[in-house]
């Protein structure tokens, strides 16, 4: 093969290998850092290992909010199934019983330990996958 062509072939191969390995590294890191979103019902049908970070969303069950020191516990429900959530810190301004909430954290023995609790900055916000009208 002619030396110029040979050089060109090598550089194309190099660029190709480089991009493939770069893209696979990015995809790998994406796959290991995804947060899956579940409603309480979906949670029941899936087994989630305790080290897997997930998001859950639903409504805060009326009468379920209990405070203990700086810890707050409440029940997230989709009015079919529900799960208990424990969170340490200040819940967001729009957090209230009977309204929508999304929590990010880990599940262990049927209790969800939240690292973050979000209620969107929008009074009309509904968590995804729930289509019930808010009574209040």
């Amino acid at each position: 093969m002619n030396p110029i062509r040979k050089k060109r072939l090598y550089s194309i191969l190099f660029v190709f290998l480089f991009s493939v390995s770069g893209i696979s590294l990015i995809l790998y890191s994406l796959n290991s850092n995804l947060d899956f979103f579940f409603t309480p019902t979906e949670l029941k049908n899936n087994i989630i290992p305790p080290e897997k970070r997930i998001k859950i969303g639903g409504m805060v069950l009326e009468g379920s909010v209990e405070r203990n020191g700086s810890k707050v516990s409440f029940v997230i429900t989709d009015y079919e199934n529900s799960i208990k959530v424990i969170f340490e810190g200040i819940v967001p301004d729009l957090f209230q019983e009977g309204s929508g909430v999304v929590a990010l954290g880990y599940i262990n023995n049927q209790i969800f330990y939240a690292k973050e609790v979000l209620a969107k900055h929008d009074e009309n916000y509904m968590p995804p996958n729930i289509d019930i009208e808010n009574d209040s």
Partner: protein, 630 residues
Amino acid sequence: MIVEISHFLSLLATGLFFLAGYFSLFVSSTSYTSNLISRTYSQAFLLLASSFLIYVWLAVTDNFSVEYIANHSNSALPIFYKVSSIWSAHEGSMFLWIVFLSIWGFIFNIAVNNNDILKPKTIGIVSFILVGFLLFLLLTSNPFATILPIAPINGADINPVLQDPALAIHPPTLYLGYVGFVIPFASSLAFLINGDSNIKWEKSIKKWSVMAWVFLTIGISLGSWWAYYELGWGGYWFWDPVENVALMPWLAATAFIHSLSVSIKSSHLRIWTILLSILVFSLSLFGAFIVRSGIIDSVHSFANDPQRGLYLLAFIGIIIVTSVLLFISRFSMIKPSSNIKTLSKESFISINNILFGTLIFAIMLGVTYPLFYEYLFDQKISVGAPFYNAIFIPIVILASLFLFLSVDSKWSRGITIDLFKKPIAFSAIFSIIFVITISFLFNTTDIFILLSIFAGSLIISRYFIEIFRYLFNKKYLNPYSAIAHLALGLLLVSISFNSLLSTERALNIKLNEYEEYEDMKVYFKDIKLIEGSNYDAVKASFNIEDEKGNNFNLNPEKRRYFTRGQITTETAIHITPIKDIYLTIGDQLDDGSWIVNIQINFLIRWIWFSAALMSFAGIMLIFSKKKSNI
């Protein structure tokens, strides 16, 4: 009545912009047509600007027969917020976006001589983009719609978290940045259409590009600063989808400006420069699509309307496909005649392009992957900070190392990198000692934080040596590059220390009692109900005694606004050069104590200062008389 005039002027402007575009792209070009295009554009701009000014006047005079103004403004608001209410929601902000786009075109139109060979085509492309967006505005999101026959007596008020000076200027600044890249985009397309590879179009758009980049930088930092003190979460960056769609054009623009300086010098990297100019503008449009189509859930997203999303997607698709096809068809014209030399300045900048491209690709994946995943597997997922950190930290460190090595590099010839050469060795030794000291002082072995501090310290010390040599040895120094890169080093160091040292805790405190946190005494002095003009609030008063015995008061609030019943947190922040003490108040517990969240945020002010310094370097370049390089 007046609103109809405003509406009509916008319609007329749309028609004239169409004519300007038509003349420039479909009528053979003579000096007569160049003048015609230039004048048509200017007149269309004046019509559109008048239309917008009338609209502003309508907002200021509380004309609530206009539906949009009725829904987003209120007669009790100060004039400043009456004006800013125009860009507090979709229709009005789209209007502003378009007006800004036309302003860039207008300034270009009067600044560039009609004899400039690429000018008519550039103006024509800007005009067609304007027509596309004006049609989008008028057909799917009409800000001129009225409530007739009976207008409401008062408006519904602007969202209280948006009643803030930083937020009133954040969107306009950001928009000026986004749409400013229309000039480089249109110029590079005009260059491709024209087909003469000898035209040095790169030089003429340099300052335009830097100006748009400065606006984008300031706009993003203002948003970050606002979120920090207004939303009450602390922190400066959340990897929220809408932050991401602003970061992508910024990264592309930064790469573009670097690449542009190579193309100005030697016509090398023209492929990169043209592709990047298309990429920057496409990403700006993509950002508009993400925010305005409602397909992504975010604190920023506007109301959901599939029709708008579809129109925008189609329009953006047409722009991207057309420009990429044009690029491919003219590929032979921009192919470089020779390869660039290894270890020359050009080679370092192409490495930079590749690294920035990777970052953009990763963000794009993070933003769009959840959409595809949900569509394919019917499972909602989200991509959070861990993914972006895993990609950004190593690549930014790598890019910084290349920057460090490139400081001595020369145009169009290679350098030999000698690690034992004085400046390089000095910076390296200094940085290694610095990092080891930090590691012992703060007892940390977090490799990524230490490496980031190392990278930042390399850049800062290296450029300090350059500045020193400039001052005492009269060695040549590019001041804009030096300042902007010093700012990058400072940014890396500030971010690293911020994530290394900052802490946060929720405390329970009863009135007249205190809690201790990080050698500070937080004393709960007082709490009372207060009334503002359009809200009532609980205002707490804390006295904090820090480790040195200094005393200061912090008064966080929780407000409830009357018109929407919305509750907001007003943070209280004690600012020192090294750290912020950041207090928010939560709910009252059954035993009478209150939850108080306290954060200590280290070097957070320096993060925004770095961004300001970068922008400052850009502004210096814009106002410089000398023809310089970046």
